[in-house]
Each structure stands twice: as C-alpha cells, then as structure tokens.
Amino acid sequence: MIRALGVPLLRQIGLICAIVIAVFLLIRVVPGDVVDVMATEGDMTAAEVAELRAELGLDRPVPEQLALWLTRMAQGDLGMSLRFERPVAQMIEYAIPTTLALAAKSLAIGLLLGVGIASAATIWPRGPAAWLVDFVNLWSIAIPTFCVGLAAILVFAIGLGWMKVLGNGFVPAIVIGIDIAGQIVKPLHEELKEASAAPYVRAAKARGESPARIVLAHLLPNAAPVAIALSGLILAGLIGGTLTMEVLFGLPGLGTLALQAIQGRDYPVIQAAILLFAVAIILVNAATDLLQRLLDPRLRR
C-alpha cells in the first residue's frame, strides 16, 4: 500500500519541481522584463532602468536567479512582487479565499446538477431528465463559459438592473456549475444505465424496491468510483472556469492575479500562481488515487 502510493507521489513531486523550473526559465527567455514594461508606462532614464534592474536582481545570470529563488522558496519565502512592492505570499493569501469560495460553490452546484440529472434520467428513462442529460452535455461543450458569463451580465446587470445578483458570486458559480455538470452527467448516466442490468438490481426489483430507491441506495454508491475518476475533468472545468469568471466578473481571486501578473511580467507572482495551481492539481490527483483505492477493494492489493 505504502509503496503503491509512495512511488506515484514521488513522481508527482518531481513533476512539481520540473514545472516550477520550466516556468522559471520560460518566462526569462522572453525579451522584455518587468522593468521594460514599467519603463514604457512611466518616463525612466537609462540609468534608472539599470538601477531598478540591479535592485530587483534581474541583471544577474539566469542560473544564479534560479538558485536564489529556489533557496528562498525552500525557506518558505515566495519573494516580493516586482510591481507592487508587496510580498507575493500576502497577495496570494488575499486572493485564495475568493477563488476557493467560487470553486466550492461551483463544485457543489455542478455535482448536485450532474448527479441529480443522471439519477433522475435513470429513474425515469422516458422523462424530461433523459433529454436534459444530452442538453446539459451539449451546452457545456458548445457554449464557452465566458460567453455564458457575458450573457448573464447582459441579462442581469444591464437588462434587469439587478447589480446585486452579480455581486454575491452565485451567478459565476452557476455558470461554472452547469459547465461541470455537463461534463460529468453523460459518463455518470451511462454508468448508472449499465449498472442497472446487474444482478443485485434485479434482486432489489424482486424485493419490490422502488426505482428511485434502487438508484439512490444501490446504484449511486456503486458509481462513486466513476464519479471520482471524473475528478480530472471536474478540476479542469473548475480551474478554467474560475479563471475566466474571476476576470469577467472582476473578482479579486487567483485567476485575476495570474492574468495581471502575466500581463505585467511580474515574475515572482506568475511563478507562485503556477506553482499553486500545479500543487493543487497534483494533490487532487493523489487524493483521487487514494479514494479510488479505498472505495474499490479490487485496487487495494
């Protein structure tokens, strides 16, 4: 068990290190650094530019910068933002709650919708829910979330004048939630449909259990591993969704922070944001693996 979990985990940690170093090098091979960006914004003499670059450590060779950054990071110091003269850790700390709240709301809505529609379609195969499976699925594939978000802003803020509706963060969560539901509803429904041919379902039917009870008490718990296997899709939807919705709705989360840092060439912030996303992805992958092993005894050996 320890070996089965430890080796992939080591590999994942290696991946994180590789990503961090790759991103560090990638954004430094680009011509034009943060000082250039700042110089085009305000009038700076060549001497001031050189001085600022020396102060920020950008005049040193790239390997030296990398070594310095890695040593500091090992000590838990993410550095200072080059543009805002604030500790990166503080900026990230400020941004995390917004992103986490949006992600949690979106996840709850997405799972509720996805599992709900898939179950309803299995209980009543000829009802409207069966049609909803295809509709939500096509919706999430066909319409980019930022278009839906835009439409929501148009309808609520401009059409109806309900500015408050947009402020509480539920509209973007619903937009992302529908997107996530659309991605998981079809595989989940197929799994439930396939599983309803299993002998234990026939036994339950013979005992006179209602279709609703069969789906909720027997089929859904058995489909849990499938739902967990879909977590990669869910996570991709969550990250892409929160990123675009934050920017679109002007929420001060990690997505907005990352985009602003990328536009302003604020290296330490970009690196920290990407590191955080990579760690989140890898943690979720590891947790998925563990949960799958715990839920499915066949994988435990």
């Binding site: 991946l15 994180i16 590789a18 990503i19 790759a22 991103v23 990638l26 954004i27 091979v29 680009v30 096509l138 594939i141 066909a142 319409i143 980019p144 930022f146 278009c147 835009l150 439409a151 148009l154 401009i158 991709a236 990250i239 892409g240 990123l243 675009t244 920017v247 990352a258 985009l259 990328i262 536009q263 060439r265 970009i270 990407i274 996303f277 990579a278 992805i281 890898i282």
Partner: protein, 281 residues
C-alpha cells in the same frame, strides 16, 4: 429496446445534418470572405458606428462603424485557421512525436513523455497564457501555444492505441516478415489508429476555438482589431449596451461551430469505437 432504438436514430441523423449544415455554412463564409458583401472589414466610419442592420450592412456596424457581417466572414476564416492549424500542431507534436519516441525505445520515450506529463499537469488555459508571454501576441504564437497545450492528449491516445495494436496479429506478422519498426509504424499501425486521432481532433478543435477566444478576450491572444471571433467579442463587450449585435453575432457563431464539432465528435466516437460498432447510441 426496439422502441428506443427507433427513437434514437432520427435524432442522431438530425444532429448530423445540423452539424454538417453549420460547418458547411461556416466553410462557405470563410471561403467567400468579404467578397459576399463587397465591403472592407477594416473600414471605419464614425458616423456609422453602432448603426443597426440595413440593406448594405446586413448585421449592422460595430463601435468603429465596421461592417459586422464582413468581419464575421473574415473572422470565420481566421478563427477556423487558428483552430485547424493549432489542432494540426497538437497532432504533429503529440501523436507523431509520441509514436516516434515509443518506437525508438525507452531512452527516447522517457524524456518525451516526461515533457508531456509536465504539460498535462498544468491547466491548458494557464499553460497557453504562460506560453503566450514567452512567444508574444499574434496569430502564429497563439496557434503554437494552443497546439502545445493540447499535444499531450494526442500523445497518450496514440501511445495507448499503439500498445493495443502491437499485440494484434498483423503487427506480429509484419515483424516476422522483417519489416523495420518505423515501416511497421507508418504503413501498418498508423492507419489503424487514425480513427482514434480523428475522433480526438473533433473534440479538440472546438476547445481550441474556445481557448483562442478566451485568450483574445483576456487581451493576450491575437492583436486588437484582428477579426477572430474571440477578439470581436472582446472588442464589442465595452459597447454592448448600444450595439448588442456586435457581441451577440460572434458569440452565436462561436457557439454554433463548437456545437457542430461536438455533434460530429460524438458521431465519430461511436463510429470508430469498435466496442460500440453497430449498437445504438
């Protein structure tokens, strides 16, 4: 069972017709381009800004007085170009490089797939954003960035398909007959895994379109004024109260094309998936 089969078929057929109709219309729009209206997509007119549909300007004009229909047509060309070229890049980088590495042996497979693992561990939109910082804005760099972001999908699919096919009898037969590994790959295995690649391409193309539009919307994709649909949306958003059509038209076009590819991808998946062959969807 019989009833559901009969009910499923007309829908599948209708969906297919809708998909082909949309893609045909977009292809026509992209091919004819601005010649259909005879107007210039870049010509600005302060007096004509935000004006509604007329017989000359079929869908009205945007905030700079540019003809929306003409920009939509030019945008169809650019949007589809970026989508197809980036998917082709992804296939070339992913499937071709991945297969070559697998055939070459472990010493090549390890670093190549290590790199793909690296790319896959980052959200595609964030990766494309970072790459665009390195590559700078513009149509070629957007194409390359999206191509790199979607390359791992093709690499893993190609490797899985390759591993499945190598155990097949025809590959053993080719090996016994003394066919070199690369020849076996190109002449025997590649045609057999083409289905999986094509199906995945139909899934990736709409995602490439969406990614391009999001990048352009964020202002780090193609340059302002370049009429891809994403850029048109981004440019029109600020003036949406006065000229809703300028934003609505590209949004609808974008959604219809992604919908068409989604329907097509679903159909292809059913056709190429040997386990589902001959069964109703």
């Amino acid at each position: 069972m019989q009833a559901s089969f009969a009910a499923a078929k007309p829908f599948a057929l209708r969906a297919e017709i809708v998909a082909y109709a949309i893609l045909g219309a977009v292809a026509l729009l992209a091919l004819t381009g601005p010649t259909l209206t005879g107007l210039d997509p870049m010509t600005q007119s302060v007096a004509g800004s935000h004006s509604g549909p007329t017989t000359v300007h079929w869908l009205g004009r945007d905030h700079l007085g540019r003809d929306i229909f003409t920009r939509l047509a030019v945008g169809a060309r650019l949007t589809m170009l970026v989508a197809l070229a980036s998917t082709a890049t992804a296939i070339l980088l992913g499937a071709a490089l991945g297969l070559l590495a697998v055939v070459a042996g472990r010493w090549a497979e390890w670093p190549v797939f290590g790199a793909f693992d690296l790319v896959r561990a980052m959200p595609s939109i964030l990766l494309a954003m970072t790459l665009l910082v390195a590559l700078g804005p513009g149509v070629p760099s957007v194409t390359l960035a999206i191509g790199i972001a979607f390359a791992p999908i093709f690499a893993y699919i190609a490797r899985a398909a390759w591993m499945r096919e190598t155990t097949a009898g025809y590959v053993a037969a080719a090996n016994v007959m003394g066919s070199p590994p690369l020849t076996t790959l190109v002449w025997h295995i590649a045609p057999n895994i083409l289905g999986a690649i094509v199906t995945q391409a139909a899934i990736v193309i709409p995602r490439a379109i969406t990614t391009e539009s999001v990048l352009s919307f964020f202002g780090i994709g193609v340059a302002p004024g370049t009429p891809t649909w994403g850029r048109m949306i981004a440019d029109a958003v600020k003036y949406v109260e006065r000229a809703p059509l300028a934003a609505l038209v590209p949004v609808l076009a974008l959604s219809m094309v992604t919908l068409a590819f989604a329907l097509l991808g679903d159909k292809l998946r059913l056709r190429w998936d040997p386990l589902r062959k001959g069964t109703s969807p």
